[in-house]
């Protein structure tokens, strides 16, 4: 039992590292959002694994909250991506240095 929980925690760590590498290396905004989704997914997986280890439903409750937060975050983020593309005609974060119009 604890062995599988350890394995799942390792998988969650690897997923989180992959998402972090994606955020740090990619320059397209859409790919950065996807990587943030991967990181949130890894965090939720760690929560569920911990809740399964201690036989408590709190882990799954926290996963529900993470899921709702990820949905809200990705909707606002994609709306921002659309607006950025309409204004600047680019997806490169290197070109988006200006905060003003």
């Amino acid at each position: 039992m604890t062995d599988s929980v350890n394995m799942v925690l390792m998988v969650a760590t690897v997923l989180f590292a992959l998402g972090l590498v994606g955020v740090l290396t990619r320059k397209n905004v859409v790919f950065m959002l996807i990587s943030v989704e991967i990181m949130l997914n890894a965090a939720g997986m760690a929560f569920v694994a911990a809740g399964s280890k201690w036989q408590q439903p709190d882990g799954q409750v926290m996963f529900l909250f993470i899921l709702a937060m990820a949905a809200a975050e990705v909707s606002v983020g994609l709306a921002l991506v659309l607006q950025i593309y309409h204004q600047h005609k680019t997806m490169d974060v290197e070109d988006l240095k200006e905060l003003k119009d």
């Binding site: 992959l18 569920v48 529900l64 709702a68 990705v74």
Partner: protein, 180 residues
């Protein structure tokens, strides 16, 4: 695989495979409700949202090149191979016949629901506020901003434009007069 693709749709296919496998991990951890939610919400809703945005962006000259590669089988070969690995694992486990019961201590959805609406009721309401704010924010940011001014401002701008046009007309006249 997700973070190394150049085309967004390829990355989204790999992301769907990743979400499906994470859902299987949840199922093996004894959390079937969360596994179903993972597949429905992540692999259903969020992937569709990303695909809508990728379609609406319509990335210009890249898409013309990508259209040629679009029909090649290498686009969908690797994601479908990964999905087939998952399917093969499931079939192997179904038909292998060893009835060794895995020691899964299942946290049933009943306990989750009781905890969710018992001690976490404030957090549920807060997450409702967050989703509402997300909807309103996305609708506000995502709409096209047209340069629709108030009518007073429109009149003022028209007068300013007329005045600047008059100045631009008069200044060359003076210069030409001086030159003459």
């Amino acid at each position: 695989m997700v973070i190394t693709r150049y085309h967004p749709v390829h990355a989204l296919l790999y992301l769907a495979v990743s979400f499906l496998s994470v859902g299987m991990i949840f199922l093996s951890l004894g959390a079937p409700f969360v596994a179903a939610l993972e597949i429905i919400v992540y692999a259903g809703a969020i992937i569709v949202l990303f695909i809508f945005v990728v379609m609406m962006l319509n990335l210009g000259n890249e898409t013309a090149q990508q259209e040629k590669e679009w029909l090649k089988p290498k686009v969908w070969l690797v994601p479908s191979a990964l999905v087939l690995v998952l399917l093969a694992e499931m079939l192997l486990l179904l038909f292998s016949g060893n009835q060794q019961v895995m020691q899964v201590s299942q946290v049933d959805p009943r306990k989750v629901a009781l905890s969710l609406y018992g001690e976490y009721i404030i957090a549920v309401e807060l997450i409702g506020f967050l989703l509402m704010a997300g909807i309103v924010g996305a609708a506000h940011i995502g709409k096209h901003r047209k340069p629709s001014l108030h009518r007073f401002l429109q009149n003022g701008d028209a007068e300013k434009e007329r005045a600047s046009a008059l100045q631009q007309e008069t200044i060359p006249n003076e210069q030409t007069v001086l030159h003459d």
